[in-house]
């Protein structure tokens, strides 16, 4: 990775051609903070908007606003219902790329009642952009968004203080907001907060550093997105390989072949590694790591590979292959933070299907420990249910032992979903805090 002192226009170092990485980020802001405009600006300035799309937006801008100004926000409007109401109601995904990185934006709606959408978008994000209107400063919504980002373990947060043009690009205003936010963030579990003053409408500090804010010495938003260091965000220490599918080609192809297919959820796996298969606790060794393109010397997250084992052990979907140096204890008692996504509340004794990595079991809610007041971050220990869009801590008992890690140690093995078995809906998103066997 290039150091932070690299410059966008500086000459490229004579390094070997680097690969283009994937960065997923979520955007959040209250209505009218300028989220759509910002995304439109990023797509437009990175030349992802093609002329037929532009033409459509131009027409729509005229229809809606009655003037010839291009309304970048219209680029990102999706479904008909949303176009009619002029608001965003569901997570939409957008794409753009620069030579350094390809970006996936989870564009999540900012309204309070759509917390579940932000949680959805945030679950896979490497980074979150929280928009703040420079005129209003840090408001309750900004705090909610920051809280959800931290709860979902997003490692990097960018506070984009938008509409700087409306406060005369004033440094003191920006500093005050940055300070307010950092005061609040100190109470959250976030390690990397970057604040950037921007004008999405005019493009200041979005792609290029702004001439109007010479007092600002940090990077432009896009420069930050291109350079923020994400390679270490994965857990590369504890080997975790949840088995998805067993490959047995059968007698006509290769009667002896038995491979365990899955996506590496943690650690670096190599042939010869001593491993243990959980929850059955069988020890063996990695014989080979296969892929369609031939054998591999190692596999790491998020690679999808096929593992063969030396001994004839009994392994099936839902089992997790772990390195012997870091073996989690399979557990039937979980304490977890849950974001509730259904109209019918979560209560003690509620029963659900639970899916964790590739294993599905049943879970019963033993107790609701507390509900978090998202505005004050206070824990309401008297709460005995979680309603739609509530976030709280619960204690669950499962029908089978699950191989999990705490979410702050591994997002892939520490997360789960709860499914209502009557409606088949996904009703809860869970993050393991602790587990006991």
């Amino acid at each position: 990775m290039a150091g932070p002192n690299g410059s966008r226009n500086g000459k490229a170092p004579a390094a070997p051609a680097r690969i283009s990485e994937l960065l997923r980020f979520a955007t959040a802001g209250s209505v009218d903070d300028g989220k759509s405009t910002l995304i439109g600006r990023l797509l437009y300035d990175s030349k992802q908007i093609l002329s037929d799309q532009l033409e459509a937006v131009q027409l729509a801008s005229e229809r809606r606003n009655g003037n010839g100004n291009l309304d970048l926000a219209l680029l990102t409007d999706g479904l008909r219902a949303e176009r009619e109401q002029g608001i965003t109601i569901d997570v939409a995904y957008r794409y753009f790329a620069t030579p350094r990185r390809k970006f996936i934006i989870a564009d999540t709606p900012g309204h309070e009642q759509y917390t579940r959408n932000m949680v959805t978008g945030a679950s896979t994000a490497d980074l979150a952009i929280v928009l703040v209107d420079a005129r209003n400063g840090v408001v309750a919504q900004s705090k909610r968004h920051a809280f959800i980002a931290s709860l979902l373990g997003i490692p990097h947060i960018v506070v984009a203080v938008n509409k700087m043009d409306l406060v005369d690009y004033d440094e003191a205003t920006f500093e005050r907001i940055a300070e307010d936010f950092c005061d609040f963030a100190a109470r959250l579990d976030v390690h990397d907060v970057t604040t950037i003053p921007i004008s999405a409408l005019r493009g200041d500090n979005v792609v290029e550093r702004s001439e109007a804010m010479r007092w600002y010495e940090g990077p432009s938003l896009l420069y930050h997105l291109e350079h923020v260091h994400i390679a270490s965000d994965r857990n590369l220490h504890d080997v975790r390989f949840p088995v998805q599918w067993v490959i047995r080609p059968g007698a006509d192809v290769d009667p002896d072949y038995r491979g365990y297919a899955g996506q590496v959820a943690g650690g670096v796996l190599q042939p010869g590694d001593d491993v243990v298969v959980l929850p059955s606790d069988q020890r063996t060794r990695v014989a080979a790591i296969d892929s369609f393109d031939g054998p591999l010397e190692r596999a790491f997250p998020p690679m999808s590979v096929t593992v063969r084992l030396e001994d004839d052990v009994d392994v099936s979907r839902g089992d997790v292959i772990c390195a012997v140096e870091a073996v989690p204890a399979p557990s039937r008692e979980l304490v977890a933070d849950v974001c509730w996504m259904a109209d019918a509340p979560l209560r003690a004794r509620g029963r659900y299907a639970i899916k964790s990595t590739t294993r599905t079991a049943r879970a019963v809610v033993e107790t609701v420990e507390h509900r978090v007041d998202i505005d004050t971050l206070r824990h309401d220990a008297g709460a005995n249910e979680l309603g739609l869009n509530d976030i709280g801590r619960v204690r669950l008992r499962t029908s089978e032992p699950l191989v999990v890690d705490s979410y702050d140690r591994n997002r892939a093995t520490g997360s789960f979903i709860l499914i209502d078995e009557a409606s088949n809906d996904t009703v809860g998103a869970g993050m393991v805090v602790s587990s006991t066997s």
Binding site: A81, A97, L236, W245, G250
Partner: protein, 304 residues
């Protein structure tokens, strides 16, 4: 440990995600099918299925919804590729749906069988009892798709309800359905057109020759170039001429437009896509030009 040593390129990260999706479907649903059009996106799906399941066989058949108005080059390619893979191909025929009265042929010079495919597709899904169908749709194609889940539910009538989508968290997909419902699964949701071409180039995948520049008799309609074929009636004033074209998408001959191009190699095509000024659908698909919400409306009815 130096984390930078363990970097994956964006294409390989997208590939890993897609393989994971395919294996989840194979494991959690009973009768999946992979929809194959012969186009570049479904060619990528076939390669991803090889990556997910070899040296085993695909745990599902491949199905082509045949409009009867295909480019002959594409059919020839389809049969060759399927023979190479040694996997089972099911052909669901729009012509048969018309002959049996399930679907009614549109008339006139602008007639297309595009919409009729939905009938044939849903009938085939029901007939074979499929509960999951892989498709090659991408979210960058169109605004309604940008919001569609990777696991996208269809009710008993094959309809998509954009307001009642299940939240999709982490890589934990919920594939539970009731009898009669099915799920459309889009493993390359997060790929862009350029990603697809770069992947085809990196993997050295064969694509039908119509993706490369070739001389063809075409005529101009609504600002697009269409192939002269027995499936399209010319309107007075439309004058066929021959020019060098290539296709960006593969669909029904009657509604898929060609673009003028001299890009004769994969590298030239990738360069052209990287530099293009028009979206894939805007440039080549008459079906999406009808209204601002054309795709959304067709999807609600059960289209791909």
């Amino acid at each position: 440990m130096n984390a930078a040593t363990y970097e994956l390129s964006h294409l390989r990260a997208l590939e890993a995600e897609a393989i994971h999706v395919m294996r989840e479907v194979a494991a959690e649903l009973e009768r999946p099918v992979l929809l194959f059009s012969g186009g570049k996106d479904s060619i990528v799906l076939l390669r991803l299925a090889e990556k997910a399941f070899r040296p085993g066989r695909f745990p599902f058949p491949v199905m082509h919804v045949d409009t009867g108005h295909n480019f002959p080059e594409v059919l020839e390619f389809r049969d060759r590729r399927m023979a190479e893979l040694g996997e089972r191909l099911i052909v669901a025929s729009v012509q048969e749906s018309i002959d049996s009265g399930r679907a009614v042929e549109e008339l006139g010079p602008r007639a297309s069988r595009n919409r009729l495919q939905t009938v044939t597709l849903l009938d085939a899904i029901e007939e074979h009892g499929f509960d999951a169908a892989f498709g090659g749709a991408r979210r960058d194609e169109e605004r309604a798709r940008a919001k569609e889940r990777i696991f996208s539910f269809r009710d008993d009538f094959g309809q998509w309800n954009p307001k009642a989508q299940r939240p999709e968290l982490w890589n934990l997909y919920n594939g539970r359905i009731r009898r009669g419902e099915h799920v459309r699964v889009f493993p390359i949701s997060n790929w862009t057109e350029l990603d697809v071409w770069q992947y085809i180039a990196e993997e050295g995948l064969e694509v039908p020759p119509i993706y490369f520049a070739h001389d063809r008799d075409v005529f101009q309609r609504d600002g697009m170039l269409y192939a002269v074929s027995p499936f399209v009636e010319l309107i007075a004033g439309e004058e066929p001429f021959s020019t060098s074209v290539r296709y960006r998408t593969v669909g029904d001959m009657s509604c898929t437009g060609a673009v003028e191009s001299v890009a004769g190699t994969l590298e030239a095509v990738v360069a052209e896509i990287a530099a293009t000024d028009l979206t894939e659908r805007g440039e080549t698909r008459a079906d999406d030009r009808v209204t601002e919400a054309a795709m959304e409306d067709r999807k609600r009815e059960g289209y791909f």
